[in-house]
């Protein structure tokens, strides 16, 4: 069964081709069957392969499908590599992907671009599978760019609105900055290590490069740039909130569960390199910690339901980066897994709310939906509980592991993580209380069909109990060194446990019982600017606008008439002038010609004489 690994990315790609080529002629149910079915077959294959893989003692399996390109001594094989890490990612991508596809079949029912939507989704899934399966960095980069393309196409899916096109371009350009850095890192690694194969690359790096020298630091930093771009980490995080312009299932699949975690996957995949560059690894942790705080604060102030979730995604990926940075590789991947469950659940539930409210995004125009949409309400409750890591939900296990590992590395990082957990508790339950409690503002006139409720149910179960899954990543990552197992850990554990609950209580006081009024706080003289600051995502967009966009526009405006061409135009103008001057000497008077010839001869003779 494991030999069929190559079919896993191929089938969604075939689905994409079918939908692109003849999607226009197919009936709607058939489109859904092709679009969902291709991912379904993939998921089925993955579960069969996974069964065999787990039975086979998780021996890494390499599948060589052929050669992609061979130039001189550089050869890029078309090969897949399956180990516990890629297996986990396969389960996430196909499993969560399938549920979201089923959901989309209901959500996009009345959209005119039904076939186009599923074509893009299949393309994305196929590229994502190539990304996680690739055994060499070039193939990984192909998948990396493929998911970028899928993301771009789907953010701008409703392209009639220019704002959506703008958001799509913004996402594309921002991630491109990171991708360029990653490509340079890839070239550097190849020129130094003469291989693209990830496993042998890590081995060679470990044997050739001493720890902390320049080459591993530079190449790890360049890869980190790529990861930060894709995973919306500081300083390239501004694209993700705008990426919410796409349809909600897209946000669930691409901008929460799978693509944005590709950066985490990349760093985990090349962890051997990061271990050689401790400074960069520490930078990963710091980036994660700062990002999770910044994004958490921004989520506090948002009013758009999807933007809250977007900022919380940035914040949760910050936790994963924090885990990677402190060497808790398994915890990072574990959080990736549980995050995929509960964030997909939250997005799909938000999608259900938006669906029933006819594309209303403002949470303060909703309210009291608890009775009208019980399934969605409970999904949201479970998702928010897992997101804020309340005990015994899936998010609790992974986040707890991360925070304990962070404490081992540095209490400051742990404190940042705990503060982040507090903020997470506040904003996730703020969302729940505002949307689902209080007076019902509007009647819900349409229900969600089984295609939308079944994925919610399944993801709800996964988000609740996903923490009990044991992912055997010990075969991939080095053991986490537990340096000081002293008694303070108990206290640390207790604090880590308590912060989300404290956050929940604060949210209750502000948004449920109304003991304190957030409105009054926001209108307060000193709090108002802070609120605005958080709302604008810490002014990052404004900063980049004035730092990069405006100077660029000014330069373009200056260069509107092609300044560089001026030189060449001047040369042409000058030679034309000379030409006119020479023309004036052609008078048509024969006697003049004779005279000037004589004069010339006299001058030449004089020169010859004198010299």
């Amino acid at each position: 069964m494991i030999e069929l690994l190559g079919w896993v990315p191929l089938i969604p790609f075939l689905g994409f081709l079918a939908l692109v080529l003849i999607g226009g002629q197919l009936s709607r149910p058939l489109i859904a069957w092709v679009g969902v079915g291709s991912v379904g077959i993939s998921a089925l294959l993955v579960s069969l392969i996974g069964f065999e893989f787990l039975n086979g003692m998780m021996q890494p399996y390499q599948l060589l499908l052929g050669s992609w390109m061979t130039i001189d001594d550089m050869s890029v094989p078309l090969g897949f590599y399956l180990d516990a890490l890629s297996m986990t990612m396969l389960f996430v991508v196909t499993g969560v992907g399938l549920l979201i596809h089923v959901y989309s079949a209901g959500f996009m029912e009345s959209d005119p671009g039904y076939a186009r939507f599923f074509a893009y989704m299949n393309l994305f899934v196929s590229a994502m599978l190539v990304l996680v399966l690739a055994d060499n960095l070039v193939l990984l980069y192909l998948g990396w760019e493929g998911v970028g393309l899928g993301s771009y196409l789907l953010i701008g899916f409703w392209y009639e609105d220019p704002n959506n096109g703008y958001a799509a371009r913004k996402a594309f350009v921002m991630t491109r900055i990171g991708d360029t850095s990653m490509a340079i890192g890839l070239f550097l690694l190849f020129t130094q290590l003469h291989t693209f194969d990830i496993q042998s690359m890590m081995l060679r790096a470990a044997s050739q490069w001493p720890i902390g020298t320049l080459l591993p630091v530079v190449s790890a930093a360049l890869l980190l740039g790529g990861a930060a771009g894709k995973s919306a980490q500081l300083p390239l995080q501004t694209w993700l909130p705008d990426a919410m312009a796409g349809p909600t299932p897209v946000s669930a699949l691409i901008h929460a569960a799978t693509m944005v975690t590709a950066g985490v996957y990349l760093i985990a995949r090349t962890h051997g390199l990061f271990l050689l560059a401790p400074t960069v690894q520490f930078a990963v942790a710091v980036i994660g910690a700062v990002t999770l705080l910044i994004a958490g604060c921004s989520a506090l102030a948002q009013t758009d339901i999807k933007r809250i979730l977007a900022y919380s995604t940035i914040s949760q990926i910050g936790y994963m980066f924090l885990a990677l940075g402190v060497g808790a590789w398994s915890a990072a991947i574990f959080h990736l897994l549980t995050h995929a469950f509960f964030k997909a659940l939250l997005f799909l539930a938000a999608g259900a709310v938006i669906f029933c409210f006819h594309h209303e995004h403002n949470i303060f125009k909703m309210g009291g939906l608890r009775k009208a949409m019980p399934l969605t309400f409970w999904s949201f409750m479970i998702g928010s509980a897992a997101l804020s890591a309340l005990p015994f939900t899936s998010g609790f296990y992974s986040k707890h592991e991360i925070l304990l590992a962070a404490f081992e590395a540095s209490p400051v990082l742990w404190a940042a993580g705990c503060l982040g957990a507090l903020i997470t508790g506040i904003y996730s339950f703020r969302l729940v209380f505002v949307v689902f409690f209080g007076a019902q503002s509007r009647d819900v006139d349409k229900g969600i069909g089984w295609r939308m409720s079944a994925p919610l149910l399944l993801l709800g179960i996964l988000a609740l109990f996903g923490g009990l899954l044991q992912i055997p990543l010990g075969s991939v990552f080095p053991e986490l060194v537990n340096s000081n197992p002293d008694h303070t850990v108990n206290l640390v554990s207790a604090i880590t446990l308590a912060t989300p609950i404290l956050g929940l209580l604060i949210a209750v006081l502000f948004y449920l019982t109304g003991t304190f009024s957030a409105q009054r706080l926001a209108n307060n003289g000193w709090a108002r600017p802070i609120w605005q600051f958080f709302l604008s995502g810490w002014g990052m967009d404004v900063l980049y606008d004035s730092l990069l966009v405006h100077p660029f526009k000014t330069i373009s405006k200056l260069n509107k008439n092609d300044v560089v061409d001026g030189l060449y135009i001047a040369i042409a103008w000058l030679s034309r002038k000379f030409h006119h001057m020479v023309i004036m000497s052609q008078t048509g008077l024969v006697r003049w010609y004779a005279s000037s010839m004589a004069l010339g001869v006299v001058i030449l003779i004089a020169i010859g004489w004198l010299s």
Binding site: S585, Q586, T587, G588, R591, A594, S595, A598
Partner: protein, 102 residues
């Protein structure tokens, strides 16, 4: 033959050449220009003769024969052109036939 020093012969030839050149430059009538050209050609011919007689070689006279032939051909073409110009423009003034200018 040895009575006349070479310098005088060359001087005469130079004077004739300059006179011819001045004629070409100041005269406007095409016929007169052609005649001045003849004077210049003959001045060079004279220089060859003088030089040939100085070293007692026949080369100078051979060169003069060549120049005579050249002059005959030049006059043939030149007069033909002058005739054509007179036919077209009804004048022999070289300055008024200045249509070929930049």
């Amino acid at each position: 033959m040895n009575g006349i020093p070479m310098e005088l012969g060359l001087l005469l030839s130079a004077v004739l050449f300059v006179l011819g050149l001045i004629g070409v430059m100041v005269r406007r009538n095409l016929i007169m220009i052609l005649m001045s050209l003849e004077v210049m050609l003959n001045a060079t011919g004279l220089a060859f003769i003088v030089a040939g007689s100085r070293w007692g070689q026949a080369d100078g006279q051979i060169m003069f024969l060549l120049i005579l032939t050249l002059a005959a051909a030049e006059v043939g073409v030149g007069l033909g052109l002058a005739l054509q110009i007179f036919h077209r423009f009804h004048t022999l003034d070289a300055d008024s036939v200045n249509e070929m200018q930049g």
